[in-house]
Point group: C2
Chain length 239, copies 2
DNA sequence: TCACATTTGTCCGTATGTATC
DNA sequence: AGATACATACGGACAAATGTG
């Protein structure tokens, strides 16, 4: 791989639908198109780009499967700009599991290490509102448990909120993708109410440690918590 | 989002091209189709599934952008079963970084923390061939520097090789995504030969520490290295 | 509630460029 | 080098779905 290769890359992709797709992507990256905006209809796009409708459709397939747009038919339709990239990452991770390219063990190990880092930065950067939000999360989860409802959503949200508190987008993206996969696994397994309750208790203790800025305690609790989760997932995997 | 939603999902996708795509995916998951196998041509697929060619084409776009097949045109073509899912995940992470406008500062900080973890697992799991590969990387970079050529490719490759040595695909994906962004920034900034040379020297020292299983030393060197990179990038960013 | 207009989903026929034998 | 097979791309057509008046 010499540098020449990067300097003189083709002006346009040989395939028109790829060119159209990356042009639209570029418009999104540069902020000309924002989430919620609508693209013109397929026919109109074909006219403006001066290509056939089939080509436009294939471009839209690419954008759709990369999480940039969503498409509804009928009436006042037209592709809508979305940001569901993280969901797409989750879907691909799931494919990778099925094709035996990534194991649950690898994922939980990476999660453990990365979330240990996250919790440190969360303690340094969290503000009052975010601590409030985390308390609300615990309360909501507890209410569900009281009513005998499993609180998976809240329990996953807890980890996302921690990542958000680091104020670092990289951690947010990585943690959210991993949690999407975890949520997916859990929804298939269907955890019992006892487990869910146990998780909430752990989260509450972790939050107390964070609010008290007790760094080591928070990390230790998290590690214990995730090792427990890991063990539970693995025992279910081999069943 | 209750569990009901997951229990009663539609029997078949309303869109035929999605149905075709998931049928072919299923054949891959179940082992009927293996990497290297060829799918029939578009026309033949259309005949067998009893759908139009356009529908088949859109299915192939989905499979292609999910990393299951690759397509070459002309001659004895026909879609080939591949497994590039992990590359697709990396591409999507890269998109996510771009769309969230991740700053270089955030990125290098996350890199610093995540690579510190990576180097620990790399020391535990690296084998002889991989150490050899890393030495080759250093040699190639040095040769370029001698010839007054900037060795950006090799310097980025060094970090990817470290991630590979952990034997954990999640680390590989995360590191490769981050390095893609770093490479992008560097190609815009255009580092000077002195900086590039300095980086190679650091990499060599790190590699020595890894080969000698000197864990703490390796981590310290890496930290020092990345902090230096961070400082250099910031001074260039604010220019 | 109902009809209408718009838009996506699908199919067919055809032309062209390209890679392989 | 020529023939062949294939993906790419265009245009026209109709069906199905859906929001709006």
């Amino acid at each position: 791989m010499n540098n020449q290769e990067n300097l003189f890359k083709p002006i346009k992709n040989s395939r028109i639908f790829e060119e159209v797709s990356s042009r639209i992507k570029e418009l999104i990256f540069e902020g000309f198109l924002k989430v919620g905006d609508r693209l013109p209809s397929e026919a109109e796009l074909a006219r403006q780009f001066n290509v056939g409708r089939q080509t436009i459709r294939e471009s839209l397939r690419l954008l759709e499967s990369s999480g940039f747009i969503s498409i509804h038919r009928g009436g006042a339709a037209g592709p809508i700009i979305k940001d569901t990239i993280l969901i797409r990452i989750k879907d691909l991770f799931y494919d990778a599991f099925r094709i035996k390219k990534v194991s649950l063990e690898e994922l939980t190990l990476a999660r453990l290490e990365i979330e240990k880092i996250v919790i440190g930065y969360a303690i340094d950067n969290i503000d009052e509102n975010e601590i409030e939000e985390l308390w609300k999360n615990i309360t909501a989860a507890k209410e569900k448990i009281e009513a005998n409802i499993i609180a998976t959503e809240e329990n996953i949200q807890f980890h996302k909120l921690l990542a958000k508190a680091t104020k670092n987008h990289v951690f947010v993206i990585v943690v959210e993708s991993m949690m999407a996969v975890v949520g997916d696994s859990l929804s298939r397994i269907g955890p019992d109410i006892e487990t869910s309750s146990n998780v909430v208790q752990f989260h509450e203790e972790i939050l107390k440690a964070i609010a008290g800025k007790k760094r080591d305690k928070a990390v230790n609790l998290l590690e214990k918590h995730l090792l427990e989760v890991k063990g539970r997932l693995q025992s279910l995997e081999t069943q």
